[in-house]
Symmetry: C2
């Protein structure tokens, strides 16, 4: 029998942040692709489009006119999935028909006045302004809401409905499924192993250098050992940090720099403005602000859909939806491409 080689032999890897497994079948990259090919993304977004509601001086759906902003620009989502005043659905009548109240706010933040300037094309000082705003938003919404989800959908392939570079912020009166899972897993890890999970993980990855994509004095980006998307990455601080507002100004500068390097690498991989969904996970807020949350470590997830080229994506469909996520190259291969 041959020796085990992760590039040739399927195996399972454990995701300690989600308490679940991923099937790694790297030999599958050899199969020819005859399925759907994506439209190459239009690389000619006009710098300014007066009909685009995210541009400076444009009129939005609700009739409001945007200011002539020259840096970041924050406003309330005109079609929010969460509103602050939804009435209570009332109490559960049956264990199979359970309902709970959901309240919150949804905001949109433009990164830059120009529609053709994505994060990797921005100056580090401009990216710093985005980071400062993110931190401010956590400080502002955190006391009211236990979870403030900052996320960016980039590219039409990731359901982004407006090409102007922007992110969203959805704050909720409940702890959503994914952070609830990360909360439970990180809490159990500290209890059992005496160290915050992702602090130990960053240290071990920095040492191993097998899955590191970029790193600097304060930050480390790896394709995690348990990555599900082909080129998924995890952005981690080297120091123990609970939430975005805790970052020093030096750490923010250094974050702007590593984001620019990571996103430029992504754009260069298939020579296309790389689509992804990304988001920040820090310690929950609201009433958790008063609790010991030292099991948490701030981190960002990048989930890009592409697999083989600018137009061939990985589909997470049948087997993945019904049984288990499956990947077609090893995370080590993903980090060295």
């Amino acid at each position: 029998k041959p020796n085990f080689d992760p590039r040739d032999h399927q195996h399972l890897r454990y995701n300690p942040l989600r308490d679940s497994w991923v099937l790694v079948s790297a030999h599958r990259m050899k199969r020819p692709w005859k399925g759907q090919v994506e439209k190459p993304s239009e690389d000619s977004v006009p710098r300014h489009d007066p009909n685009n509601p995210l541009c400076p001086a444009s009129t939005r759906a609700n009739g409001e006119v945007n200011p002539e902003y020259d840096s970041t620009f924050l406003f309330e989502n005109d079609f929010p999935a969460l509103q602050p005043d939804a009435p209570d659905p009332g109490s559960d009548h049956h264990p199979l028909f359970r309902t709970k109240a959901a309240r919150g706010v949804c905001k949109v933040m433009c990164f830059h006045p120009w529609s053709d300037v994505t994060l990797p094309l921005m100056q580090p000082e401009e990216i710093c302004k985005v980071i400062d705003k993110w931190a401010e938003l956590i400080e502002e919404l955190g006391p009211t809401y236990p979870w403030v989800q900052i996320f960016e959908n980039k590219g039409a392939m990731m359901g982004c409905s407006n090409p102007h570079p922007h992110c969203q912020v959805w704050a909720s009166s409940f702890l959503p499924n994914e952070p609830a899972l990360a909360e439970r897993c990180q809490r159990a890890y500290l209890q059992k192993h005496g160290e915050p999970m992702l602090l130990e993980y960053a240290r071990m990855e920095a040492q191993a250098q097998e899955r590191v994509v970029v790193e600097n004095e304060h930050w480390l980006v790896v394709v995690p050992y348990w990555a599900t998307w082909p080129f998924q990455t995890l952005l981690l601080p080297r120091r123990h940090i609970l939430r975005l507002p805790d970052l020093t100004s030096q750490e923010r500068n250094s974050l702007a720099s590593i984001m620019k390097r990571l996103l430029t690498k992504y754009d260069n991989l298939f020579e296309v403005s790389f689509p992804y969904s990304m988001g920040w996970h820090g310690a929950p807020t609201g009433h958790y602000l008063k609790e010991d949350m030292n099991h948490w470590q701030l981190h960002a997830h990048y989930y890009p859909p592409l697999l083989r080229s600018a137009t061939v994506r990985k589909f997470m469909v049948g087997y993945e939806m019904l049984a288990q996520e499956q990947r077609d190259l090893t995370p080590e291969q993903g980090s060295h491409t």
Copy 2:
């Protein structure tokens, strides 16, 4: 304050099969869609294409020639994600770098010799042959593998790489994440409430008639109370049944009939060959065959991606990947469209 109305007021609903929540924000359907529009699916698949490796008499990637089959046709996947003889990765060395062995087989089953005949276009007797094969596969692979996942990816949008109507069967030496969750939830429900979860659920839905899409003497199809995809459905037997081979021939006929009705409804909804991923969940097999699995109830999930039309899909992206699944219409609205 207005009274709670699920169509106007966001709320959370509990999924008892996955022990998680979905955010229902039905008022979001009002937002205009300016994002990605899908290619309408080519409705002119040739009945026979000698270069299509799934057609009768075609040569496949491995050089084998398909028989001139005239009903279903089963063969080994030429690019399997699971192989029966992968070497063992060895034991875990660290809780953050855990690996497990994975073994299995992957098969493909063509439904019909003609490439342009999808399930809803087949005769009930022809669909019955598919159902019989599904049951045979569970009987054949079940004793060796604890999980046999039967699934169909339909349509290019769902990563289906060959238009010839077919499904796949991936049997594995491990219980994957999703069935492991369904196993845990159904076991706990029976223990706590004294009745199999999905048996009780089918009875209550049949009575309420609020989310029923189609039904007959033996089967019920509902948009589940906790559906995440806009037009997701759950296909349930009315009688307590653990696995596909347990179906009587009358129940198989009746299943063929209800599948045809459901899939025809789907095709008519947006007047397109409706894309979806679907799959069967029955009680686990392998060593579980000798255990009391009465908490299980056989069921099939249909996960279709479309939201507003044949070309506008629901994207499960940023917020959904990082925080929690969110839907833009109520399950009740989904079942009455």
